[in-house]
């Protein structure tokens, strides 16, 4: 193998000091250093420089620096975490805000009507006592009956659906007869669903 050029040797010296020289190249460098006194002196000088710089005293931070840093921090990280989540998920955030607005408007609409209301095509045969709507025994109510914010007791006949919103149905008496179905709606969400389905029902049947 031809002998190494001195300029290559210098590059190898640095690589060697960096711990970045392959074993074979290291052997080659070693051979060169035994033959070239100038390069050997250069290597020694570089090695000494390395050792000196590594041995430099560590400069410690002032004792109170840690405390000063902690005091300089903004008081809370929570809002930052929240806003960054919003930044990362814009679509989800927009959908969530939309849902909140929708839901709150529905809830407020639902809360507006706390009073008892009874609706249906045939209310003549219905008796209202305080908060209670009664279909008396022996009476026949034709058509659907919808009661909001009140209880319902059916003793007679109901020829249609019974819908109770935010109220309860007193267990049916043996004399009762309801031709349609009984629906009880207790919560705002159900009420919302009822509104939607009745809206679509209206569309479908064109009533």
């Amino acid at each position: 193998m031809a002998d190494m050029k001195c300029n290559v040797a210098v590059v190898f010296m640095h690589d060697y000091l960096d711990g970045d020289l392959a074993r074979e190249d290291s052997m080659q460098l070693k051979r060169h250093l035994t033959q070239c006194s100038a390069c050997y002196a250069r290597y020694e000088s570089l090695e000494r420089t390395d050792a000196l710089v590594k041995a430099i005293s560590i400069e410690k931070a002032p004792d109170d620096l840690g405390d000063r840093i902690m005091k300089s921090l903004p008081s809370s990280r929570r809002p930052a975490a929240w806003t960054s989540w919003v930044r990362r998920h814009p679509a989800v955030s927009a959908a969530a805000i939309f849902m909140v607005v929708m839901l709150s408007s529905f809830v407020s609409m639902w809360n507006q009507s706390r009073e008892l209301s009874v609706s249906g095509p045939d209310l003549e045969h219905v008796v209202i006592e305080g908060n209670k709507v009664i279909v008396p025994e022996g009476q026949k109510v034709t058509g659907d009956l919808t009661v909001m914010n009140g209880d319902v007791q059916v003793l007679g006949d109901l020829d249609g659906d019974l819908t109770v919103i935010d109220g309860s149905v007193v267990p049916l008496a043996s004399t009762a007869h309801i031709a349609g179905e009984i629906k009880t709606i207790d919560r705002a969400v159900d009420w919302f669903w009822y509104k939607v389905s009745s809206y679509f029902g209206t569309l479908a049947y064109g009533s």
């Binding site: 960096d18 570089l46 710089v53 430099i56 840093i69 902690m70 990280r77």
Partner: protein
């Protein structure tokens, strides 16, 4: 399991102040040492460290856990130091790019502060010469050399911190080492 710093960073991200205090404790001396050697000025070093921790704190959400925490915090600090040196350069207009390789640009001529805390009263002549030689390093070698020797980072880690190829880091370490050798050779 993730390394300690990564776990602390995760806790701090959730608002745990004690976890962040531990991070400060782990790194304040290292960062101060880095900043002091970079700027050559104690007051500036303190400012840099304070600013660096503030940035870390504000950007915890952006810390990528696949990266070493030390790499991230060193990058923030090194960038702050380089920014300061750059501003200084602009203020004093000591720009001398042509002599970059000889290290005769403006930084070398800036006086370092002469406050001597007790720890430095017994600073040996040797130590003083080494400090001077490091202070005289051109900025682009200085950061690499400080990370390599004073913070004991590997070439790969320095490449991650400085965001430059390993080959560039190597070249700078070699040139920086030659620079220091020439500075120190005849004095020691």
């Amino acid at each position: 399991m993730k390394p300690l710093e990564t776990r602390l960073a995760r806790l701090a991200r959730r608002g745990d102040q004690r976890a962040f205090a531990e991070i400060v404790d782990l790194y304040k001396d290292k960062l101060y040492h880095l900043a002091y050697r970079m700027t050559g000025n104690r007051q500036e070093a303190e400012d840099v460290v304070q600013e660096a921790f503030l940035r870390v704190y504000k950007n915890l959400d952006r810390y990528d856990e696949n990266q070493k925490f030390s790499t991230w915090i060193y990058r923030i600090t090194t960038n702050l130091c380089i920014d300061r040196l750059r501003k200084r350069k602009a203020i004093y207009s000591l720009d001398a790019e042509s002599s970059d390789h000889e290290g005769l640009d403006g930084y070398a001529m800036l006086p370092s502060d002469d406050r001597t805390p007790e720890s430095e009263l017994i600073l040996s002549e040797t130590q003083r010469l080494i400090h001077e030689a490091i202070a005289a390093l051109p900025a682009k070698y200085k950061s690499v050399m400080i990370l390599r020797y004073l913070q004991d980072l590997s070439l790969q880690e320095i490449s991650d911190v400085m965001d430059m190829p390993v080959t560039t880091v190597k070249t700078r370490v070699h040139r920086g080492r030659e620079f220091l050798r020439k500075k120190l050779e005849h004095k020691l």
